[in-house]
Amino acid sequence: MTDLLDPILSDVRVDLKEIAALVEPGSRVLDIGCGDGDLLELLTRTRDVDGRGIELSQRGVNDAVARGLSVIQGDADSDLYQYPDQSFDYVILSQTIQATRNTKLVLQEMLRIGRRVIVSLPNFGHYDVRLQLMLRGRMPVSKRLPYSWYDTPNIHFCTIRDFVELSQEVGATVEKALAFNGAAKKLPFNAPWWVWNLIATQAVFLLSGR
């Protein structure tokens, strides 16, 4: 058990502010995997959005609703079909993509529901992860990611390059991409993908459909 991986997740919510900055004020937003509603509240407060949330855990849902947010219990894998085409300006999946079962379908559904899609994810191409696997020969486990490989809900980790490839495969356009290092510092915008893939712990993508 080492905390080598912690730099990736220590700044796990650094993406929230960056996501909020990507959202046009006054728009309609669906936050998938919204937890107890931190991002929705931030968006409601600072961007005046009409925000909705879906959260898997009942505890998260109850906490969010008790905060006055519009949140329902639901599963990204099975419940997105209910939403009409293009019914939101933004559909957001923040730090949740790795827990989806049918990740490609979820991304396709998000692009169907929303005019724009925002995905934030931990980058498993980061050199710490690569080192941990290479030197110890073990799947990374840390304090903030306490699951062993056999019981983790996080079943679809990917790297930045993996995600870019998936975006292309589902016909999405990457309108904007942001990457952060372990100190939650934004990496230079013009760095090539392979640099980001090696030194970024987090990435945020703004996608649009074709």
Binding site: D50, R52, Q58, V61, N62, A64, V65, A66, R67, G68, L69, S70, V71, I72, Q73, Q82, Y83, P84, S87
Partner: protein
Amino acid sequence: MQDTLETDTDAQENLRQREADHPTSLVMRFGMESPLQLDGGASIAPWQIAYQTYGTLNADKTNAILVCHALTGDQHVASVNPVTGKPGWWSQMVGPGNPIDTERFFVICSNVLGGCLGTTGPASTNPATGKPYGLDLPVVTIPDMVRAQAALVSALGIDRLFAVIGGSMGGMQVLQWASAYPDRVFSCVAIATSYRHSSQNIAFHEVGRQAVMADPDWLAGHYLDDGRNPRKGLAVARMAAHITYMSEQSLHQKFGRNLQDRERLTFGFDADFQIESYLRHQGMTFVDRFDANSYLYVTRAMDYFDLAAAHGGVLANAFRASKTRFCLISFTSDWLFPTSESRAVVHALNASGASVSFVEIDSDRGHDSFLLDIPEQYRIIRGFLTGAARSAGIPGPTPFSEESAR
């Protein structure tokens, strides 16, 4: 059973009979010029609706909340019931500082159409005959009940309700309000309810109605004319229904197979078990406060309710382009209105693009949970209303002053 059910409660029955026409609450009377049009084709005039209010309506009339009661509830949501002398049925939910805060909101609760506590129902005097309506009252529906409430709300000068809130049959009224009057409902909370009564639920209601009608004292609905009352039938109906309001687990925890005031089985048909004694008591006390014909009418209204069928079989059409903020609440152990029913409403609301919150609350106390002291329900409703009030621009309650704290 004979002995337990036949207690002398003439005084209470007289009291109840008086409440049917002259309720111990506010009452809004509509004359011949304002008939109430019913789904069944008939209309009633004159008619009246009994109601209570709590808190103060603000100058803009934007802070009104309508609370809709369930099958056997009444307008005394947070005031003493004149028939039973008991506190209001939701007095922990509604009141100063409570989740439905009467220091901030103006709360209205009315007796449903077809009820027996002052709103026109089968126990009310039929102006055409001078006798109780009995079965001469046309069958009423949930939309009819809501139409009556809307007339009351209009008569109070309120264009838009800040919220409509209710559980079980009250929740059906909430959904009907949101569907029929989307512009008059800013937000709503529908608890332990459904958009339509299930086959199983209709079945339970039919058992109850048959029990009432099988009682020789029912007299084809004319018992009030003869000073009779189908007490046994109505008590059995209530006993059967009461089981559906609890859960197997709560029954087991509360009563198990415990014996009632005895050491061993009596090999007879007395109430050997505590659960039997409990149900008999429930049946008996219910009869004292409720009219048997009302029970037929109001259960029928629930059975007929199907918001999807009323919209071409597509529930989402009931909420097209709705701007109302919805909150749905269900309870894990409620098998009468299970979570799947609320979820179906949530799916329809999502499909119609409405704003919706949905919470399932952990409780082992069955359908009745919504009436019980469940802190999580208080937290959710308080939070939802606070958020909605923020959006509606309704100011918070006056902060505690030094004087009022003392």
